[in-house]
């Protein structure tokens, strides 16, 4: 028996998220007293694959196949379920990101395996198998029992620590039979910015709300973000007004993020916005209105005009971090 963890790569490289998943899989496997198999799909070189061992994988199954270059949910489901069976996996772990959300539910049906999605910590018990997750978009948490032989877990990003291991993982190539005709979703064009820090990966996020008054006032937000190595975000009214792109909308129906630090500037903190940021480890609020609900969610707050405070903060950061 094993725990199988699906580790996605980005142009042949893993990221922190991949190692969080393997660390999590290792801890789940310890509870069940079984080994960890990591599955990688795509061109990843041996040195990169071995990194998965550094976080606790015992074995790495690597699949390279031209038909798997873009994500076809049906074909990925078929391949991952094959490996689940081959490795006799009782728990299958994926990220709760766009890829995980696309394939985990399909695998759940294919393997008749209960799905625990968006988990934020280890299972509290393994018999009955009980997982802990956010519900009502962070307004509550639930203990959910998974009643099936195989269990599928999707882990929320940035919710589990990295645990290094001195495992020397073995690497096994696995080939699978896929025909071009199996691919029903044909990617005809891709429009992608490479090298940009993704909001969901960022450890620090600087975010602006309606209090910024206009898209012309975003300079200091971008400057502070750049200095801190942070991503920029915004509240819903800002993206609805077209001041910022929709990809930056953070909240209930936008992105749900869990950075180490979230700096909310001119954001009142509507319940729908808080839903997107409540998992941040620290929240800083800068707002002119002392009664803004954001101060109830924040750890540190300044009541004042963002247009005065941001430039000051920027010069302090420049003095102290350069």
């Amino acid at each position: 028996m094993t725990v199988l963890v699906f580790t996605e790569n980005w142009d042949g490289k893993f990221k922190k998220l991949s190692f969080e998943l393997v660390s999590y899989a290792r801890e789940v496997a310890e509870k069940l007293n079984v080994s960890v198999v990591a599955l990688s799909i795509g061109e990843v070189d041996e040195d990169e694959l071995k990194k998965l061992g550094d976080y606790g994988a015992d074995k790495i199954v690597s699949i390279t196949n031209d038909h798997l270059k873009t994500l076809d949910n049906q074909v990925y489901t078929k391949v991952i379920s094959e490996v689940t069976q081959k490795e006799n996996a009782k728990v299958l772990i994926l990220s709760h990101n766009n890829t995980g959300k696309a394939i985990a539910p399909r695998l759940s049906v294919k393997l008749k395996a209960a799905l625990g999605s968006g988990l934020i910590r280890l299972p509290s018990e393994v018999d009955p198998f009980t997982v802990y997750k956010k519900v009502f978009t962070g307004k509550a948490f639930a203990n959910v029992i998974l009643n099936s032989d195989i269990k599928i877990l999707t882990l929320s990003q940035n919710s589990f620590k990295l645990i290094s291991s001195d495992n020397k993982a073995t690497i096994e190539e696995y080939s699978t039979d896929i025909q071009a005709s199996d691919i029903k979703t044909k990617v005809t064009s891709t429009d992608k910015q490479t090298g940009k820090l993704l909001l969901t990966d960022a450890e620090i996020v600087v975010s602006g709300g309606r209090g910024m008054k206009s898209s012309d006032n975003w300079g200091p937000i971008e400057e502070l973000a750049k200095l801190l190595g942070a991503a920029t975000a915004c509240s819903r009214p800002v993206s609805d007004e077209g001041w910022r792109p929709h990809e930056e909308h953070t909240g209930q129906t936008g992105k749900i993020i869990a950075p180490n630090l979230y700096i909310a500037v001119g954001i009142s903190g509507a319940i729908q916005h808080l839903a997107g940021i409540s998992s941040s480890k620290y929240i800083v609020a800068i707002n002119i209105d002392p009664d803004a609900p954001i101060f109830e969610a924040a750890d540190y707050g300044i009541v004042g005009d963002a247009h005065k405070i941001l430039p000051e903060l920027i010069s302090i950061v420049k003095e102290n971090l350069s």
Partner: protein
Amino acid sequence: MRIFVCLGNVPDTTTKAKFTENNSVFDTTGVQWIINPWDELALTRAIELKEDANSSVEKVTVITVGTKSAEPTIRKALAIGADDAIRIDAEPNDAYAVAAQLADVLKDEDFGFVMCGIESCDYNGSAVGGMLSEFLDLPSVSAVAGVEVEGEKVSVSRTIDGGKEIINIDTPFIAIVHKGISIEPRIPAMRGIMMARKKPLNVVEASETELLTDHKSFELPQPKPPCKMIDPENVKELFDLLQNEAKIM
């Protein structure tokens, strides 16, 4: 071409979460029910496509698994512009069971595609759309932020890290959608509300299905310590706290 839109009937997003029976059951007292926000965006796009002369979409049907208490939400979808509705009569307690019940009805229907919101804002399972696709053995695309229909040809735009992909796909398929599919949900007009009363809302019996999950108990978040307020004349203190107390900078 006919489009199906799956609807979830969920508590209004401003609802405070409360639980009863020793924290094992969500307390619905005083809760306002709404169309799940992503499903509402999907419905908005479906109706735009029906109105678009270049697309072959001619009928939009909403389908939901729910008890009679979900009917006001279904009527709202009809008022927004759906042509008809199917309610599968069951309590939606488990994503696997809901998807199985939807699949059992949809397998006998003719459609171009089915749209499902990527997540429900109550149990946040992000599961039903993908499960439905697998039950029906149909292709699916998730994180869909746009659907275009030119005659009978359909293409979707999928969000990927740092950008998007355009995907061509043959019908029938399942589109699992999120923000961007439309931006503002459409609001029912008075005429729509009047017409909605006469539109067909068919109730069908739910098939027997297994439940794979059980929400055993709920917890509320721990109250946060009060926010430390910093004098706006002393911004340096914020930096010091972040550096020394939070240990971030």
